[in-house]
């Protein structure tokens, strides 16, 4: 079990906002009803009901071949659905593909550009195809290029670009038409970590400043978690769960009444800390956790072996564990009805004698939720299959 700290406040707020608007929203920029795509026998997208609300970043999660790209192509009118319907910016993409494509920016999976042209020339072509010309086009191009941080490379040929730069140019390309909706297929694939941060920040900024609605697909779960308001888990052509990360955590059986705290303490003090924690009113249990953050991988692996809580190849624990104070992570289970902030206050009080470094809600990562969701869904499918056979 890994622990990711931070971002608790944002999650809670968007969760309540989402809860307020659970009713079907007729103005949602992207809506599908029983959208289906069959390739011969194979069902790529199976009766998909999806709703992306105005001004949100929606993450479509799924493995390769889960049907994400097919869904996106249907939303853009680039592939005809076998059944069901879709509405994008209020229009049927099959019947009004031009109007939809005019208002929806699209970054394809592994986007490409004409290598014999510069980045700016490539964008100029896109601008022209969108009916932009002259100064208007040049301004839009400069702005888009600046947004993605490619200004100094815009006038070199794109065959000299790295994969990550092409990806960023692709985002600039999608932004040129000043879209109402942005659909990004694997936007952060093959961008370096710092570049990913920049791209994600840009996406948030776009939502903030222009009120753009963003649908992005990804299999990089922690990035999705960090940027998306809501997430849809996609498997076997079906959406098996939609909601904010905490909502999904709850839905797939992760209890949210865990608090994580980090204490600078010797291992000898463990017993003392457990006693202190358990004395707090409302605490059911307290146990040691491990964290991969703030520590070297070797140390984490060693900790994993001692606690026996990590899957994967066993790593030899160093016989002489690092002496002296170190960060010990504790996971505290509270009674479900307790308020989180009240519990945190009480625990902080109880730990007054200890060197407390960090405390907060311990939420499962999207990675864990995703695994469990797909697992549960797979089991259910198996069971249904067995029933069908009987």
């Amino acid at each position: 079990m890994t622990i990711v700290t931070g971002r608790p406040s944002r999650r809670r707020r968007s969760a309540s906002a989402a809860a307020a608007a659970t009713a079907s929203d007729p103005t949602a920029p992207i809506r599908t009803r029983a959208l289906t795509k069959r390739y011969g026998e194979r069902i790529a997208v199976d009766a998909l009901d999806l709703e992306v609300r105005a001004g949100e970043i929606f993450g479509l999660l799924g493995q390769n071949g889960a049907g994400k790209t097919t869904t996106i192509l249907m939303l853009l009118g680039l592939t005809e659905p076998s059944g069901g319907s879709a509405r994008v910016v209020g229009l049927d993409p099959t019947r009004h593909p031009l109007e939809v494509k005019r208002r929806v920016g699209y970054l394809p999976d592994s986007v490409g550009f004409y290598g014999n042209m510069t980045g700016r020339e490539n964008l100029r072509y896109t601008a022209r195809l969108n009916g932009l010309a002259g100064d208007e086009a040049e301004d839009a191009i400069s702005l888009a290029v600046e947004h993605v941080g490619l200004t100094d490379r815009a006038d070199t040929r794109t065959d000299t670009y790295s994969r990550g730069m092409l990806q960023r140019l692709g985002i600039a390309d999608a932004l040129l038409k000043d879209p109402d909706v942005l659909i990004l297929d694997e936007p952060t694939a093959s961008i370096d970590p710092i570049g990913v941060e920049d791209v994600l920040r840009l996406l948030r900024q776009l939502v903030h400043e222009r009120g753009i609605t963003i649908l992005l697909s990804s299999h990089l779960l922690n990035q999705v978690q960090s940027v998306c308001d809501r997430v849809g888990i996609f498997a076997f052509g079906q959406l098996i769960g939609v909601g904010t990360v905490p909502e999904l955590a709850e839905r797939f059986g992760f209890s949210l009444n865990h608090i994580e705290l980090v204490v600078d303490a010797d291992p000898e003090q463990d017993a003392e800390i457990v006693r202190a924690l358990k004395r707090v009113d409302g605490v059911i249990d307290a146990e040691l956790g491990i964290a991969l953050t703030d520590r070297t991988l070797a140390e984490a692996a060693a900790a994993a072996v001692t606690t026996g809580d990590l899957e994967g190849p066993p790593v030899e624990a160093t016989p002489d564990a690092p002496a002296g104070p170190q960060e010990r992570i504790w996971i505290v289970t509270t009674e479900p009805e307790r308020e989180l902030h009240a519990m945190i206050s009480s625990i902080v009080g109880a730990m007054a004698a200890q060197r407390l470094i960090r405390i907060g809600r311990h939420a499962p990562t999207l990675d864990e939720i995703y695994r469990r969701a797909v697992e549960q869904h797979g089991k259910r499918r198996l069971a249904e299959g067995a029933e069908g056979a009987a």
């Binding site: 968007s14 906002a17 103005t27 192509l73 853009l76 699209y106 394809p108 986007v111 004409y114 195809l129």
Partner: protein, 347 residues
Amino acid sequence: MTADTVTNAPASAPAAADAKAQPAYPHTNGWAIVARKEVADHLHSARIVVLFFILGAATLIPLYFASDTIKSVAGQLTDTRGAFLALFLASSQDYPIPNVITFVAIVAPLLGIGFAFDSINGERSDGTLPRLLSQPIYRDDVVNGKFVAGLAVITVVLVAVVGIIAGFGIVRLGIVPGVDEVIRLLLWLAVTILWVGLWLAFGLLLSVRIRRAANAALVGFGVWALVAIFGQLIVGVVASVIAPWATAATLEQAVALKALSDGILRVLPLTIYQEASAVLMRPDLTTVSTPATIAQLGQLEAQVQGQFLSFDQSLLLIWPHVVALVALMAVCFAAAYIWFMRQEVRA
């Protein structure tokens, strides 16, 4: 992303949507934008330089060797009709070099295939096709634009080459064309563009159907070789299979055999084009059909030599050829078009 964006955004997004609700629709000419970009690409590419030099050099060399022959013959002619066009027909007496129109007939298909074989599959393998198709243009704008661009560039190259030859004739040999000859030359140019257009459409079809550009080029050049080089051989084989009794022992049999093999040969588009261009460039040709009997042969020989057709009569003579070329081009283009429209965007 905070809670206030979630609440603010729905208010701002419909407003933005309203502002765009009545679009000025400038994209009915998407094909023109695609064509413009493609023309620029072609003009900057290495292949146009190569093709231009091949075509230019290979037409000027026979012209250079033939110029002395033309000069001496032209001096003796009292009736100079057709002398200008002889520039395109003359070949050297000393060297085995084909004349200009034969050369164009052989090389033009290469032009067509060379400009089209990677047009769609190239976009596909570069990953630019989904991006292009997600712009507000119709899907057929891509195919149409590329075809128009290829045709435009080839027209430019052909006009340039023909202009060079005509200029050479006027300046060096002092042969000035008459109106009739200019019209014939323009008609020949039009039929030649049609001929290249057929191969361009074929190249486009290959680029839609065959995912790898290299394979498409191989298939294209293979078909070209079949038509241009092996066509004659195959016709001989087919003729002997159909009429194994046929020998050229008597004149009658020889004529019949020739009629048969010409009939088979006419299945090849190359024959159609060559007949059309010969009639257009040679006002003295009064028939395209092979004499089927000795009597017809006799009729043909009895015709007054030096009788010239006017250009409209020549055009009438080869009108079926023109229609056949248009039809072939239309079939190739339609196949490419339909396949492209039905194809998945993703590989």
